[in-house]
Amino acid sequence: MGGRFGDGTVQPGSITDKTFKEEWHARALAVTLATGSLRQWNLDMSRHSRECLPPKDYCAFSYYDKWISALANLLVNKGVISADEFLNPILKTHPLSSRKLLAADVAGVLSKGAPTSRSVEDSPKFLVGQRVKTRRADNKFISGGHTRLPKYVERCEGKIEICHGAHVFPDTHAHNLGEQPEHLYTVSFLASELWEIPENPGDTLCVDIWESYMEPANVP
């Protein structure tokens, strides 16, 4: 949605706002994190599941409603539970219950995280300072599949600012096609390159972009 028109003013809120506005927001976050321990999907799959919500639901649902609805779809689509169980829960131990996240393990799991950096043999294709051009923001393997190239920078020219080393590639990782790590870069784009009427032409956007989302820009 980056760059979309029509959204209203941002409401800053207040420092006294609670972390979770409603109790169910907290439950939604906790259920989502806890079910990750079942290891039936990865982060990219869960992001993609949110993106796969029907557009009318995606627009209408609140933030944590998207999370919980996408989680329900993941659980059924990955065969963990059946949709019938949403309405008629069954009291029966699941084969995956040995992986259940226990309260005693929460601190360890949350403080450990899951780094996505990987070692690869290939050296980076692009150098800091090099001009690059992005490709179309579509998954190349699966029609309608997950990608992390935002639409608003597709087919735009930018400059390599940072090389972060190789990271797990979301476009494959979200679809059971493996991690296929690729070099990841921060690329800067001038506002004047991205927008027909920029707010300030000299401002920049920095976007983290995987190597195969780009090609060298044609040097004039």
């Binding site: 806890a34 919500l53 944590y64 990271h167």
Partner: protein, 204 residues
Amino acid sequence: MPHDVEKHSHSLLPSDPELKVKALETALVKRGLIDPAALDEIIDTYQNKIGPKNGATIIAKALLDKNFKKALIGDPMQVLEEHGFLGRQGEHIKVVENTSKVHNIVVCTLCSCYPWPLLGIPPTWYKSDEYRSRVVREPRKCLLEFGVTLPKNTKVRVWDSTAEIRYLVLPILPDKYKNFDEEQLIEIISRDAMIGMALIGDSS
């Protein structure tokens, strides 16, 4: 799974999100797939243990000590590990420094990526469509909505967290706070300043 074969079982759940969560939690607890006590522990962690004070502690040190700042910008993970600030959604942190020439702002236009171990769970506005859609196109208008006006010759640099790198803004310390000690600085370094949507000392 591509769009065309995605099943939308979520439509079978109650439409009220509060009931939706409850139904899902009940189904999972009955199968022994989640432990309610673990859920309470997760909530307690993000409600009471991890929040913007972590980030403010690191930023305060960086504002007081040039060598610390150099280390934090050069090898943030090493510094954060020493302070015990590693964790989920903070596996790859980068600190970006505001100067008189550049003002940095952080967003995630694709979802709501945010440096959890340093700032906690993102505020509602950070996750809002309004912020995610607009701050990349009109950052200065968004800043105005937060009461922030930048000098004309300061360039804005918006960092869109599209991968697993999480960004933390190192704000400028205004002259009037130069004699503050670490404890006093931690009090005035706001969450929003570390996202780039406030300046140090702003009431927000």
